[in-house]
Amino acid sequence: MEKKGKKDRRDFINTCFRFAAGASLVGVTGVLAHKTISGNTLWQIDTTKCTQCGRCATSCVVTPSAVKCIHVYDMCGYCDLCGGYLRPNVKNITTGAENQLCPTGAIKRKYIEDPFFEYEIIEDLCIGCGKCVKGCGAFGNGSLQLQVSHDICVNCNQCAIARDCPSDAFSRVPADEPYKFSGFKKEKKG
């Protein structure tokens, strides 16, 4: 005798497949709808969350990394003893390689007038390690900051650095406001 309301195995599997197909359809539609509504977005770093962990240099799928140090000149103190340029415990304040903090020598120091020096980032050499950013933040005004350079970034769906970032400093930003650095000016590199 067959019990009322009890499904056999075949009916149960059929129902499961239908449910899964329906859920996938709704999910795909939702994702497409979200992308359409949100428009073009790009990956960017929130400088207030960034801890300069070094992973921007090692996790990016682009080599060297699409993350670069930018210099917000408005905030810079143009210091002689620059914490972002010189190694800690440096004995001589000179441009000698042994005194430079940057592992790739990507910062150019130029004398302006006593006692001011200008620091320029050579983007091609910068690997986005954030060492200078940490030094500037510790001893200076924090004018050196890490940002994703959109000329280089390939805008992966799932950014490899965002996945590895320990402070969740990566997020998608609208393409018409692609940079998130702190400072007085909003355009890239002041």
Binding site: Q52, C53, G54, R55, A57, T58, C76, G77, Y78, C79, D80, L81, C82, G83, L86, P88, N89, V90, I93, L101, P103, D114, P115, F116, C129, G130, K131, K134, G135, A138, F139, G140, N141, D164, C165, P166
Partner: protein
């Protein structure tokens, strides 16, 4: 039987697969990884214990939203200025009174006559010893930002970090002079103030000592604004000052030695009147990392009183026996 086993095996495999996918999607993986580009400040934060000549003997908390400035009066009462308030404690740290201030009082000073001077943005409030408002005047200039203040014989010296100059006013608010403007003929190189830490104090002979933080220097001026003495020590090590702008605050001991506090490497040190390093009062390990604005004062017993804005504490250091 064989079919049933196969089915069970398939279901288990499917569940395992779903579990793995769900784990990858919904659970965070540990993100610990060695930073091969680590900027290690630990070495600089280490201080040889034989150099530390002071010990912390007392501390007390201030119940306020934010604290900025510290001063002592001739009876060693401790004045702390902060957001919308001024607190007064006796030398043992017992609360005496408080008064309202309109705005953030970034600096405070108590003159020999007992006047309490407060720097609030671009405004100077002069209060009578009983706390009543005596006078209030503003410093002109869109960038004016008062970071330190001192008074002697009715003359007020105001460190303006925004305009990188020292203003000399009468206590009634009448402008007298500007001190420290660049004048190479007189040997004055001008103040370099990259961040809003620009301190001044009056020395034992009434001379005005002003920190030139961008040059890691202290400069002394007479009442006419002539440069009479200067010393500077630039170094990342303990014998000098590093970073963009240090020392952030200064005070003077009875023998004319300077007490200095720094930001970046949070430490308090003693420099001889010549500027040479003498000893350490407090090492970076005694402060929260990132602490700035360690304002200083010295009492009649040469105890060093420190305002720690990060912990909202007044901390007192005394020479080790």
């Amino acid at each position: 039987m064989k079919n049933k086993l196969g089915l069970i095996f398939s279901v288990v495999l499917l569940l395992l697969l779903v579990g793995l996918i769900a784990g990858d999607l919904f659970f965070e993986k540990p993100k610990s990884q060695k930073n091969i580009y680590e900027y290690d400040l630990d070495e600089l934060r280490q201080v040889d214990s034989s150099l530390i000549a002071y010990k912390e003997t007392a501390s007390f908390l201030i119940d306020g939203e934010a604290v900025y400035g510290l001063a002592l009066d001739s009876d060693d009462n401790i004045y702390v200025s902060g957001r919308n308030k001024l607190w007064i404690f006796n030398s043992n740290g017992e609360f005496q009174s408080s008064m309202k201030v309109r705005g953030d009082a970034h600096c405070v000073n108590v003159s020999e006559s007992g006047n309490i001077l407060l720097g609030v943005g671009n405004r100077v409030d002069v209060r009578k010893p009983n706390g009543g408002l005596n006078n209030s005047f503003q410093i002109k200039g869109a960038k004016a930002y008062i970071s330190s203040i001192a008074e002697k014989d009715g003359v007020v010296y105001i460190a303006d970090a925004g305009q990188k100059i020292v203003h000399q006013y009468t206590i009634d608010g009448k402008k007298i002079n500007l001190i420290g403007g660049k004048n190479l003929e007189k040997g004055i190189r001008g103040f370099v103030v990259p961040s809003p830490y620009f301190d001044l104090m009056l020395g034992r002979q009434g001379e005005l000592w002003v920190v030139n933080p961008g040059r890691h220097a202290l400069e002394a001026y007479n009442e006419k604004g002539d440069l009479i003495s200067t010393w500077e020590r630039t170094s990342m090590r303990v014998d000098g000052f590093g970073g963009c702008c240090n020392p952030s605050h200064v005070a003077m001991l009875s023998d004319g030695s300077f007490v200095t506090s720094e930001k970046g490497l949070e430490r308090i040190k003693i420099h001889l009147p010549s500027g040479d390093f003498k000893s350490v009062v407090a090492a970076p390990s005694q402060f929260d990392a990132g602490t700035t604005g360690l304002d200083l004062a010295v009492d009649s017993n040469d105890r060093i009183v420190v305002l720690d804005p990060s912990r909202k504490q007044v901390r007192i250091f005394e020479l080790k026996e």
